[in-house]
Symmetry: D2
Subunit: 415 residues, 4 copies
């Protein structure tokens, strides 16, 4: 009798089997020691058909049932009877109501005012604010909350559109599994990625953002990245102080932290070159002014500036300097990163865990991500946080990026 | 004839053979394609005796000779005739004169006003400013330079005291090589480190600073670090947002990024716990106020607060939140780090590359450094940047730190 | 019309959703560009209920259909009308018929003589031989095939019982995901593993086999392994020359490759100790005779011998010596490994990729595997090849194994 | 007085400072708590001049002194009065006398019959046998010892010629430090290595041996290795079962362990392809017969066979099959490896720790070694065991080897 109170009828539709949605729903209920009963199940007869399931989920208490529902709603399930989303006002700047809804990075809708509203600007692990007049919803970070903002609380009235697994396509994201391993045919994969980069830009008119770390300069790939920018395949660069400082050092003195990038030998003034490069930027006032005054005449930063590509350098506590172009306040840097990422269709994460994780946190699950690093644990971490279409490549960026660029050159010359 | 102009007589004394000082001087001259002639060499007859060498160094040009001299002065060589240090004023805030002297992290003196003056506050890759009235010299970062500051330029009049290799001692820094490997007897090394921690505090009254990353909480070692603080072995904690957020989440909910730290299983609300922990800090206003209001009642941050141990949380672009206690401006965070490090005798770097490199850049070569990480490349990197007394241990901090703590407990109970 | 020829009706039952069996079947058909139609689907109403599906699978040609069927039969699907298994005789020793059936490591049955026969001795990537008189089937390696052996060919009449995902239990294999990461609570996981080891032996009377590499001695864990053997938790040891040589060196001279295992310092005779240890075994003739003659009085090998635990040392091309106890022919070593593994319920793989992969290839999917290594890629590799119940732990065996042992000690003292 | 008994006058000459020989001698004496006094020291005045030192070394006892001397003789020191080498006969096959001299991999001479005799076939950690009639000495492994062989015992009369550090040259071994890091300019280093390979073969007429693991095929570099063989740059291939099996699978089916090497996707028959490739070799009887029967028509093994390049495949316990060409007895495999290595001037170790360590153990310190792997700990391990001229490159062999080959092609076309 009493048990009846702690149950809820839910339904779900989509590629329940193929995209493992039903498996995940069952998993969640069982992991949480709940119970379920399948009331109805229509399986798609053919591979493109959609399936449908209706279940009763039972908990041991109201609280337990809520926990069960919360977990399965995140997989795309919905109560049979649609309910209005619940909102609560922020009582104090930067403080969410206790029961705040914590987002996934999947496309999300809320049921408000008798209609489903898309949530803009989806990111993981944030909250949703609703402009009740304009009937608009937006994903927001905690530091941007103002007193009075209306926040979604609880799980009611929120609908997630789980991402289908990509299939039957020709791009790299469709035929590579999510796994990452150093035991893959590197040259061939570079070729596929190059095609995908080209298509993203030329065919789909999509924005491509590069996130890069200083290892890129050290491993001799800065010329390749500069070329990639020159060729128009980069619509924004997200990085930090070290990449810019190494790039300037390389452009002015041919070294990176004192190592000659043309052969890997160490110059005797060692780290002094690094400090001198930083001092040159301070002297000029900014990278841009170095370019204008013809002090900086090549390299990654140079190409960004002459091609008018936005670059954001986020400060970090280990920075030497940092150079004046670095945004030393990291909350401000996050905002700028987010702006550059707006509308991105593809993100290349090149040998930087710090900045890549930052970016990963800001991406909706619909963006393609290519993560390249020589360390398998790093690649695994990036891909795991990532989107539905994330490819991890365990390789040496110093050998990989030049291959990508030369593939792009041959694509263009044959086009 | 003309060649005579491009030569310089230099001398050097110390443990030239044992500490490889002479080898490094020869190396530098040969690497730079210079020439040398040994004029005089007295070798220490017995192992504690000091050796002495006098050489003529020859370059191909004035500039080449300068390059040669610059490189060998950094190894401790000195011109036979002592010369006054050269100073130049800073023309603009945060801009060094071109010919600035770039520091090592070794103890350094400058010859100014007929006397050798110690340079305070030594750090690597910085410059030296001189207060000409007070006859004091100090190592400074570029962002702290003000117009009018007098800066050491060139290499003249600067003397470096190279660090002897530690020998015949009983502490871990003396009997372990600088190498790092996962193939070492972990339990035994933990024992030695524990003895050294104890001696640093109790016998030498030295300050011990811990640099720690969030993996520490994840790998189940937060109780051990809390205990270490409680026992009085920690005089300062340098970290970032994630450690504090994970620690609060662990204290309030028993999870770290949603993983239950008591058994490694995942809780279903996953990352929501993490966001909730961050929200709790925002609600209370600060970690301290959480402790005062009895919301936060255990853990690493709790122990820092109740034991009045300074902790600095430096922001990074990947931070969620970050919580209000985080210093979001990284230049400011660097200054605060530096303050806490003042007078440190030992630094434990626990599973964080980002903060450890930041700290490594600020340390003089006389501080003992213990770097612990599960990744050998990370440990190698930290130890290489490090001081003369750096020990790298490739192990799992989740198993290692508890062992250290239990060793310390038995040292104390037997004392 | 013609299409009709290239279709087949199949069915499958089990936890189709929960164990992702149906997902994998759909995956395979789609990946191979085949087509399917669901004829019937009954979903288990409650979580323990079994589901049932009946499908038509369509290919573009006979060959294509066979490929489709082959791939889905491996996931547990079966043709609606049961067919007899096909057999072909081996024409030449060590050569399989072209169309040989290549095994999985799952429990497998063949339909022969109107009945389902279990295949004994399941291993991955081997073939199945049938004794037609005794109606027994066995999994065999290629080198054991004799002319005239009857081999299963094609996919007909072979039934795989896919392993259910473990659920709702209390052992470590049930609540840890298959993922491996260094960011787990090490001490707590050690506790769980210890409980599982204890239960496997005491409650389930199961055999526990240890696979161990020389890093174990180097990292100071040999005492712990010796203790584990002494306590009766090890029923067989699979390793190579290096573990035994290091163990003997450690027992006789307190070093491992010249490194003192009590503190990690290097002894000056360096590798000579290693060669001397090997020579001592040659002198005595064998490890056993060293024990009998009281030359070897402690350590891992000593405990194996006095406790009568079988140990197999497989040779490898990098061996120094190898000592006389090593089986230098690797085909012979594989056979001996296999014998020791017979009936194993749990396998601990401790810091050796070479021997662990060898063992992984020989295990049916029903055996519990714990893989410990400091390198995440190694652990991932071992767990991926592994069984349904594989747990990977990225940690330092030198700290981990002693923790396991001390947990076991407290379990026993409290029992 | 009595102390006088425990001292010995020794001398040493060479690049004592530059090659750190004197530092190492001092190190050893101090580490062992011995004492020394420098009697005479002449330093080379110019950089190519040789230095000379004469010392008295003092121990606390006869045994202690012997330990001291033993350790410094290995660094090139010699007693002032030359003594005859001591020999003892082997009493039993494969058993060395207790006091056997354990070799380094440096060029070594023994003083026997009033003359210095070169020891042939130098390897690390072996013993020296002397043919007293022919006055020839040879380095031997323990398993090759026969009763009656005369073995060098003690340290007297053995002279080591320590290797100078390479300097002022143009090859990669001279300008790269011994360190290995992933943060090096990969493309540029590939260029240098290519030049060195070319010069070793063409200019110095030296033999080049490749040691390669299966990752090479997996990462898509098998075509590059095949090409390298075709171009005549490989004089021997040392590997194991997996490389050959993967190479055959790739040549016959375009996959490696079921992964398509043209794009990294997985074929559905998965590992079956691997087993089928192995079966094909068994069917043909050998790789050679596969080539003769035109079954195997491309790939690494094919090129070895048609170009008559010796290849040795050493068995390992994890082998599937192994194919008939594999030498399953590892002692026999070691002998064959050794034969192929005879007279080698350069060894390329490509992504295999097992076989590379085996080879490293067999090489004199005069051979150039290039070790390539994606894991830094592996590269460090290989380089550390290595020779004076070892270069470690942390990169992806799948991207690196093709670059080497294309550099070699351009060297040849421009020659």
């Amino acid at each position: 009798m009493t048990e009846k109170k702690f149950e809820q009828e839910i339904n779900v539709k989509g590629h329940l089997i193929d995209s493992m949605i039903l498996t995940k729903i069952f998993d969640n209920v069982m992991d949480l020691e709940g119970d379920f009963q399948v009331l109805d199940f229509h399986i798609g007869k053919r591979k493109k058909d959609v399936s449908y399931a209706r279940l009763i989920v039972r908990g041991k208490s109201r609280e337990h049932l809520n926990k069960l529902l919360e977990s399965i709603y995140r997989e795309g399930a919905q109560p049979v009877s649609i309910q209005q989303v619940s909102l609560k006002p922020v009582q104090k700047d930067m403080v969410m109501p206790d029961n705040f809804y914590s987002t996934t990075n999947n496309p999300t809708q809320i049921y408000y005012g008798d209609t489903w509203i898309n949530v803009d600007n989806m990111m993981m692990d944030k909250c949703i604010t609703v402009n009740v007049e304009k009937k608009r919803a937006e994903c927001k970070i905690i530091r941007d909350l103002k007193k009075g903002d209306m926040i979604v609380v609880g799980e009611q009235g929120v609908r997630i559109i789980p991402q289908e697994r990509p299939r039957e396509g020709i791009d790299i994201f469709q035929f590579m599994g999510s796994g990452s391993s150093s035991e893959r045919p590197t040259q061939q994969i570079a070729k596929k990625i190059a095609i995908d980069i080209h298509n993203t830009k030329v065919t789909h008119k999509g924005r491509i953002i590069v996130v890069a770390g200083p290892v890129l300069v050290h491993s001799g790939a800065s010329e390749a990245l500069a070329k990639l920018i020159q060729m128009g395949y980069v619509h924004g660069l997200l990085s930090g102080n070290a990449l810019a400082a190494h790039d300037v050092e390389n452009a002015l003195m041919g070294t990176s932290l004192g190592m000659r990038t043309k052969d890997g030998t160490l110059s005797t003034r060692g780290y002094r070159n690094h400090m001198q490069a930083i001092n040159e930027v301070f002297k000029a006032g900014s990278l841009k002014s170095m370019v204008q005054n013809k002090i900086l005449k090549s390299g990654i930063m140079y190409e960004c500036i002459v091609n008018d590509i936005p670059f954001i350098l986020a400060g970090s506590v280990r920075d030497d300097g940092p150079i004046p172009d670095v945004i030393t306040d990291i909350v401000e840097a996050q905002r700028k990163y987010k702006q550059v990422l707006e509308g991105a269709k593809m993100v290349l994460m090149l040998s930087t865990m710090l900045h890549s994780i930052a970016v990963g946190n800001m991406l909706p699950s619909t963006v393609k991500v290519v993560a390249v690093d020589i360390s398998q644990p790093v690649v695994t971490k990036l891909v795991d946080r990532g989107t539905t279409q994330a490819v991890g490549i365990v390789t040496d960026v110093g050998a990989f990026l030049p291959t990508i660029v030369s593939e792009l050159e041959s694509i263009r010359s044959s086009a």
